[in-house]
């Protein structure tokens, strides 16, 4: 059964239509990599899935939580959007850790505020998650005291703390120095192996080859083609895909 279902998703900024009717179905434990040139709408698609951008039109269902877009911003609808967000982890390019909280406090924040978990339980959970991303010894460090790669791993742990049904990554390694990219990708790979459903916007081709069950190529607000990484990288059907790949390679 599909865990994410997107129908006819459209998003316009003023007169500029960035997403021109996206249909997308993602099954449980699937790892989907979205690629495409800048301005193709891949980040906007991801942000729409979490309602960080309000879609102009379309329906988004994640698990059993469905939000029809374009409705009035009343409290019932706000609650629907919050319920949907609670079940999706979002990892930002710029990490967006809370700088005034330590690593472990960053991870504890969600369980305490969103799930009402007791502080001591949240601490045990957070400690376990930080250990899982290889930062068990950095619990009491502030974000400013961590490297970019470490910050991004804390951010992943922070999202995992809410036990999401799906993880969304918006160019998670684009702000990192090259030597720090690997440690973040390794954490994402480990999650893939555990069966976490993930959508990843990235330019890391070798990573996509490694973990992606499906690669989606987007351009100018539409999905141009999709398939296994082999199908897309080795024998792309569309001219636009070929052009993009020749530049990226």
């Amino acid at each position: 059964m599909s865990i994410i279902q997107v129908n006819n998703l459209r998003k316009s900024f003023g007169t500029n239509e960035v997403l021109k009717g996206i249909d997308l179905t993602i099954t449980k434990s699937e790892v989907v990599v979205i690629m495409g040139p800048s301005g193709s709408g891949k980040s906007t698609l991801l942000r729409c899935l979490n309602f960080l951008e309000e879609p102009t039109e379309g329906v988004i269902r994640i698990g059993e939580f469905q939000v029809v877009t374009g409705g009035k911003a009343n409290s019932k609808r706000k609650k629907e959007i919050r319920e949907l967000r609670k079940r999706t982890g979002f990892v930002f390019q710029s990490f967006n850790l809370f700088p005034h909280k330590t690593a472990i406090e960053n991870v504890m924040e969600g369980p305490i505020i969103i799930h009402g978990t007791k502080v001591e339980e949240a601490r045990i959970l957070a400690k376990a998650l930080l250990t899982k991303v290889g930062l068990g010894d950095r619990c009491d460090y502030y974000p400013a005291q961590l490297s970019g790669g470490q910050q991004q791993r804390v951010a992943i742990a922070r999202s995992l703390a809410l036990n999401p049904m799906v993880m969304l990554y918006d160019e998670p390694t684009s702000a990192l120095d090259p030597e720090l990219v690997k440690e973040v990708l390794q954490v994402i790979k480990d999650l893939a192996r555990e069966g976490m459903t993930m959508i990843i916007v990235t330019h890391e081709m070798s990573f996509a080859k490694d973990v992606a069950d499906r690669v989606i190529f987007m351009d100018k607000g539409v999905i141009v083609e999709q398939g296994t990484s082999e199908e897309i990288f080795l024998k792309p059907k569309e001219e636009r895909t070929r052009q993009f790949l020749s530049i990226v390679k």
Binding site: L52, K78, R82, F90, N96, Y142
Partner: protein
């Protein structure tokens, strides 16, 4: 300069300084609350209140404090609102500082990176949870230097209340001078007391700024 004049007038001056501190302290507390709510109301664009807060800030910042004091003390009794001099002073000083503080708070809240709000919302927090837990603690640190400025101005502005016969530090100085005819000594003494007060206050705020910035140290 006669040392005995200093010794003789110091007790009265210090007593009047207590009035200055009292005026400043009460006004700062009211101004903080007022300024905070005005800032929140404007950031959340709360209907009607947003308009009131915007007009309030504009009027207060666009008119001299002395005129505000006169309107409150001499003007309001004409429409049946009579306040004693001290209350009038507190009202004027609080309203005045509140307007400036609301601008400080607003700027400080808007200065927090938008990614912080996005990260909070993406977890499923409500807007007010995000504001309370994530945005406001960070904006407090950003606001401290401008808060500090407003506090300094407020302490100095208490001297304007002397014109409506509140016996604070400046008013007391003038009274002593009327008896002793030693304006240089007494006014310098008053200036020194203001300077000590303000230095004491800014030192505390500087310490607070260092403390709240601890998490930024690498």
């Amino acid at each position: 300069m006669d040392v005995t004049i200093i010794i003789d007038s110091l007790p009265s001056l210090l007593k009047a300084t207590l009035m200055t501190i009292l005026l400043a302290a009460i006004s700062i507390i009211i101004a903080l609350v007022l300024g905070f709510f005005a800032a929140i109301v404007r950031i959340l664009k709360v209907r009607i209140l947003n308009g009131i807060a915007t007009a309030y800030v504009s009027i207060i910042r666009g008119t001299p404090l002395l005129v505000q004091i006169f309107v409150i003390y001499y003007g309001l009794p004409q429409i049946g609102i009579s306040l004693d001099p001290i209350s009038s002073g507190v009202v004027a000083l609080s309203l005045n500082a509140g307007a400036y503080l609301s601008e400080s708070f607003r700027a400080a809240i808007l200065a927090v990176d938008n990614g912080q709000m996005e990260a909070s919302l993406s977890m499923g927090m409500t807007y007010s949870q995000a504001l309370r837990r994530i945005i406001l603690p960070q904006s407090l640190r950003i606001a401290i230097p401008t808060l500090s400025n407003t506090f300094i101005v407020l302490i100095k502005d208490t001297s304007l209340v002397s014109v409506i016969t509140v016996t604070e530090l400046l008013q007391m100085s003038s009274l002593i001078i009327a008896k002793t005819f030693e304006p240089l000594t007494i006014y310098l003494l008053a200036a020194a007391i203001y300077w000590i007060l303000i230095t004491f206050f800014t030192t505390i705020l500087d310490k607070l700024e260092v403390r709240t910035s601890k998490y930024l140290v690498r």
